[in-house]
Subunit: 367 residues, 2 copies
Amino acid sequence: MDERLQVDYLLTCQPDEDPEAKLRDIALEQTVELPRDCVPDALYERVVGRVERFSALPDHRFEATLSFNPALVGGELTQLLNTLFGNISLKDGIRLTDIRWPRDLLDAFGGPAFGMTGLRQLTGVPGGEALLCTALKPVGLDADALAERAYRFALGGMDIIKDDHGVADQADAPFVERVTACQSAVAQANAETGGNSLYFPNVTAPWHLLEARMTVAREAGCRGVLISPWITGLDTMRWLRGRFGLALMAHPALTGSYFRPDHGISPDLLLGDLFRLTGADASIYPNTGGRFGFSLATCEAINHRLRYPMGELLPAAPTPGGGMDVARAPGWIEQYGADTIMLIGGSLYAQGDLTRATEALRKAIGR
Amino acid sequence: MDERLQVDYLLTCQPDEDPEAKLRDIALEQTVELPRDCVPDALYERVVGRVERFSALPDHRFEATLSFNPALVGGELTQLLNTLFGNISLKDGIRLTDIRWPRDLLDAFGGPAFGMTGLRQLTGVPGGEALLCTALKPVGLDADALAERAYRFALGGMDIIKDDHGVADQADAPFVERVTACQSAVAQANAETGGNSLYFPNVTAPWHLLEARMTVAREAGCRGVLISPWITGLDTMRWLRGRFGLALMAHPALTGSYFRPDHGISPDLLLGDLFRLTGADASIYPNTGGRFGFSLATCEAINHRLRYPMGELLPAAPTPGGGMDVARAPGWIEQYGADTIMLIGGSLYAQGDLTRATEALRKAIGR
């Protein structure tokens, strides 16, 4: 018999709301979208989600599991997202907290083409040492000015220099001109230092331009790109994985609204399981203690899901960022382990000399 | 001087949080992503969002307006979404409530290719009468069984028979087989009745299959399709608009997490302005009093935004659904006006005979 898709929920009920009725409603809403008595028994049994268990927590909250027939997904990521949270995104008090994936679905989507190990090969950073990443910014600079910054970072030995996720194809630094200039600048620095810095341009783009952006990046000599998959549509990332020979670093833009305590999708599921499943080699998330509000437990949970055994999927690289600073970097590596990419932007810019700031960061983490 | 993109926010502050500082933080976060003192003055002036105004409401809430240089968007919808709500989706107490669009942006994205008027032409329903829509369901039926249901609805004079949004390309009713069967069934019923029912298949699909789905729908003789743009990526809908000669009915799946009172994007902006801007000829939303939690005011606000003067954009068709019933349909048309599509599914199925149920619905609304 086929393995079923098992989904855990945290339900927050109204005082007069029956949790089992709420679960049965989710099971119908996410499948047949009809009242029970409009569904023939045989079809109900085969197609409607099943209530597997539920148990009470304080404050009218309940832990629950529904299971779904994986045939509902039809092997398509778009329909997977719809089954997981399409209509119930519009209902209150429902949070997805865990998913146990049927092996067939994992195999269908494939996961990272490079993963943590592949990123080590591309950057030349050996096991046991964390990778470093920074962002090229700000938007508004021209391509030459951004390339100059990329050059300075690369001279200092930065492993991955990615575009800021708000640097797209604006007139100040058009995509083709910028990618060519920045990749050349990084290659020049590598030639001078013998280093191996990589430049990852932001390819987040309208539907019809995405392939062209990937092609430009590849032909310029880039080895990876940045993408905001919740903006392009998550399936876009799945489609790009492995297709252009470029590693994918995923940015969480637009995902934050799902991360409410009583509603949505837990951050570790979305930025961990879903991003990894669909091909993120690295998943950026806002580190605790920075400009955003994730707890340490949430960050650790994301790290776990990017690395845990998930069928044959490669482990991906947790990439905490967002208000990180140089002084605390060694502590974070100790906390999260060496199979992590430390994303540090603003605090390097604040030091003025980007090469020295990068060298100091490398020294601070013992590289 | 270029018209700026004006965005209104409802801020919910902590008691010790300075609203102006929060606004300046948003203005930096959504543009340069650097602290103020890392940004040269000239670039700051040109690129960083501007605080235009803010005023206090009770309970530490504030109404505020920021304006952005539209050049930041670079004419791309993906970067527009990022500028509007990319990183700040990850921050607390920020809700987008209104946008005043520069004319250039409206022209760049284009809006509905058909709109309400075009849907009247396709269906033959004259002005002053509301359109009727239903959903083909449940998932799990085979193509012939769904086609039989489509035929019954069309015999009764249903204007638009759309796939349920969870009917994708599952093995029970593969897309090509289903679309061919359902479109033929509806054409057969039209031939018998002299009517003009339309079948809109669900084309929500992975990136690489979308064009093929649109082509199949067009070649089968369909005049429109259903799409869940938040699942495919909103820019996908923009790209499809006008390209295949098919009207676009947008479904709100996966959008609900943005609709929190103190966080996200107001439903009227997302399902109204953003869906209309990117080409939805009709925008489905959960009607008040049904299975979901929108207020009447929210529904009226969505209707308004789908119809209000928005540059040269055509008005789109509000499509309230989700637990609607036949008895209340006339009241809703009186409430919302005739330029509305009434989406009624379950309550027709509950009556058993789909043709008679549709005829009764038409009679109830005076058609």
